[in-house]
């Protein structure tokens, strides 16, 4: 309890509150602008946070992450184009409701569901993180190796077009993590005699390239796409009677979202889709889904925001990112000299509760920002792409350059951007690559240490029940597409 109070009190400085509010504002703006996403904003903002103390820096990024997920619903409702992928299911009922003349009501429902989902997941976070961390204290390198392998196998089920492509992208990310001087032997690997690569590939330029430049190039081919925009004059909050009717749907979706968020590599998008489907399944008015029903808005919104909180649990308690955005926050933590995982929670719990507090603040701030700025946020969708994307490119150059004041990082960013664009075109996601890059070092280090512990006997790893458990989950996860395919064929025959 003391740690919780101490963590919260750390946030009470005016400077910290301003920075968190700024994170919320940027997050909602970025979420509301089609094409811009919270992972991209986190990637762009990370290098500048190096100037800040760790707590406000990470708190600002966490607030941005929460707000970006919410912001995506604004464009999903007003222009039928989700500002961020997690809002994809919100558009299914949000846009029809806005089109029939109730944009303010749709935004109000989305806001209340987002706030509720976010707060519920954070309460679960505050309960689950210490428990998970105390279990994780039992983890030694073999257990960490097995957990990281399991997390990488989860890339197969990550949102995207193909499990196979996600796995390949993840493996490429892990391979990229081997660039530089090998820690245990001091041997240079894949440095190609470039001294800047001795320390390995810096996270930040790669992240900026993949998320910002890759998307910029994708956007260049959609400049002439016309969208119908609905202007919202004010947000209309749901009535108490309406909230009572939607209570179960919000609670159910929040639970689903938090659970999906906690799973490594599963993110808000999956949570939103499952939240929508479950809202429909339990609804008494199934036939109204797709025509602008409130349940079709609150179901996915509560789920995607609660997944944002849920994804922070494995990120902070185990050091295993729960989504692409949390992988970026993990990179920021590492950049600030922290080693995420159980030790962080046991040694500096106040730090984690400060982040928790920032996310809680962000969730409450949506409500104020949504109420005060509905009209403004409906107008930002009118900013011409031709001015918006050059601005993003400038931030990308500055972000890549300022991370180590080196133009080599700018070149790395550009290469990552070009590769990211072609990867995306062929169905390989950027998020699996980033997660591979972040987890890569941990996998190799944990594997090397395990081999030392077990005197190079790989099979001795299986003596640990936790290792066996994670390997069994990995095998189950990787074989799922095959046995579901087999079962479907059998059912069809």
């Amino acid at each position: 309890m003391d740690a919780i109070i101490e963590g919260f009190s750390l946030l009470l400085k005016l400077e910290n509150i301003i920075l968190i509010s700024l994170g919320v504002l940027i997050g909602v703006l970025v979420g509301a602008l089609p094409g811009l996403s919270s992972p991209m904003a986190i990637a762009l903002l990370t290098p500048f946070t190096i100037q800040l103390e760790p707590i406000p820096a990470i708190a600002m990024l966490a607030a941005l992450y929460c707000a970006g997920t919410f912001g995506g619903s604004i464009t999903a409702i007003l222009i039928n184009a989700p500002g961020a992928p997690p809002a994809v299911a919100t558009a299914l009922d949000g846009y029809p409701m806005a089109k029939r003349g109730e944009p303010g009501r749709a935004l109000g429902l989305a806001t209340v569901a987002s706030v509720s989902g976010g707060i519920i997941s954070l309460i679960i976070f505050i309960v689950a993180a210490p428990t998970l961390a105390s279990v994780a204290l039992e983890f030694r390198p073999p257990e960490y190796f097995a957990l990281a392998v399991f997390a990488l196998s989860m890339l197969a089920s990550m949102t995207g077009k193909s499990s196979l492509r996600n796995l390949i992208a993840g493996a490429v990310g892990v391979l990229l993590a081997t660039v530089g001087i090998h820690l245990t032997t001091g041997v240079e690997r894949f440095t190609f005699d470039i001294p800047d690569l001795d320390e390995g590939i810096h996270f930040v330029p790669v992240l900026i390239g993949l998320f910002a430049i890759g998307e910029l190039l994708s956007q260049s081919s959609t400049l002439n796409d016309k969208v119908e925009r609905i202007e919202a004059k004010a947000m209309k909050l749901p009535t108490l009677k309406e909230l009572k009717e939607l209570r179960n749907c919000i609670l159910r979706s929040s639970g689903i979202g938090t659970f999906i968020g906690i799973l490594p590599a599963e993110g808000s998008t999956v949570a939103a889709i499952v939240g929508y489907n479950e809202a429909k399944r339990f609804s008494k008015k199934k036939e109204e889904f797709g025509t602008g029903t409130p349940e079709g808005i609150v179901g996915p919104e509560a789920a995607n925001n609660s997944a944002a909180g849920g994804a922070m649990v494995p990120t902070l308690a185990l050091g295993i990112p729960g989504s692409g955005s949390t992988a970026l926050i993990l990179a920021a933590l590492i950049m600030h000299g922290f080693r995420p995982g159980p030790f962080l929670l046991n040694e500096t719990p106040e730090f984690l509760y400060a982040i928790f507090g920032a996310m809680l603040f962000a969730n409450i701030a949506f409500l104020g920002i949504g109420l005060a700025g509905a009209k403004f946020f409906s107008l930002v969708t009118f900013i011409p792409k031709q001015l918006l994307w050059p601005a993003v490119f400038i931030f990308a150059i500055i972000g890549a350059y300022s991370s180590s004041s080196s133009f080599v990082d700018v070149y790395v960013m550009l290469i990552a951007g070009l590769v990211g664009y072609f990867m995306n075109r062929h169905g390989f996601g950027a998020a699996p690559l980033v997660m591979g890059l972040i987890l890569g070092k941990m996998v190799e280090e944990a594997f090397s240490q395990s081999m030392i512990i077990y005197d190079n006997n790989f099979w001795a790893l299986m003596e640990s029940p936790i290792v066996l458990f994670f390997f069994a989950l990995t095998a189950l996860n990787l074989s799922t597409p095959f046995w579901t395919g087999f079962r479907n064929r059998k059912a069809a025959a």
Binding site: K161, V172, R189, F190, S220, L414, R425, H426, S448, P481
Partner: protein, 176 residues
């Protein structure tokens, strides 16, 4: 918005290919060539004594990863068979050739990034703000000029004065 199963060819319908998807075959070959080259590189990594390396030579782990990537890549040309059954369209985004404007943008980005050490950060930003909107078909001169003046100056002031980020001034030495 076209649906996943749209029949319009321009949006990339779920097309029936033979056993092997031709585009994925090319992608697989490119990946395998890259894997082959990198594997060759790993054979040139220095070796250390087994005691020092704890029996795990520096090349072992990257080689293992390269084998995994190569193994997974071998399935890529046939994956469309599985995806087609699930109704997923892997060709949706790549059915059309790379948009000419995307090609032009790539060239511009490469040129401006290569020129940035010489131009310096402020001139680079101004050039981007002037040229990119025009390249992308934005014809309103006054907003472009205002954007190209105010935005780079504001960004420079924010980062150099508030966040203390040092900006390279380039060969012209222009800064704020």
């Amino acid at each position: 918005m076209p649906s996943e199963n749209s029949t319009a060819p321009s949006t990339g319908e779920v097309r029936a290919h033979g056993l092997v998807h031709p585009v994925d075959l090319v992608v697989s070959i490119i990946i395998l060539l890259g894997v082959g080259y990198l594997f060759y590189e790993t054979t040139h990594f220095d070796e250390v004594s087994p005691l020092f390396a704890q029996n795990i030579q520096p090349a072992m782990y990257p080689q293992l990863l390269l084998w995994i990537i190569a193994f997974l890549t071998c399935f890529l040309p046939f994956e469309h068979l599985l995806l087609r059954k699930k109704g997923k369209n892997i060709d949706k985004e790549r059915s059309a050739p790379v948009h000419p404007l995307t090609g032009i943008t790539i060239v511009f980005l490469v040129v401006i990034v290569l020129a940035s050490p010489y131009l310096g950060m402020l001139l680079t930003m101004i050039t981007v703000c002037l040229v990119m909107p025009r390249l992308w078909g934005y014809r309103k001169l006054v907003p472009t000029l205002l954007f190209a003046t105010i935005f780079p100056v504001a960004v420079s002031l924010l980062f150099s004065k508030v966040l203390s980020v040092y900006f390279d001034t380039g060969i012209f030495g222009i800064t704020i």
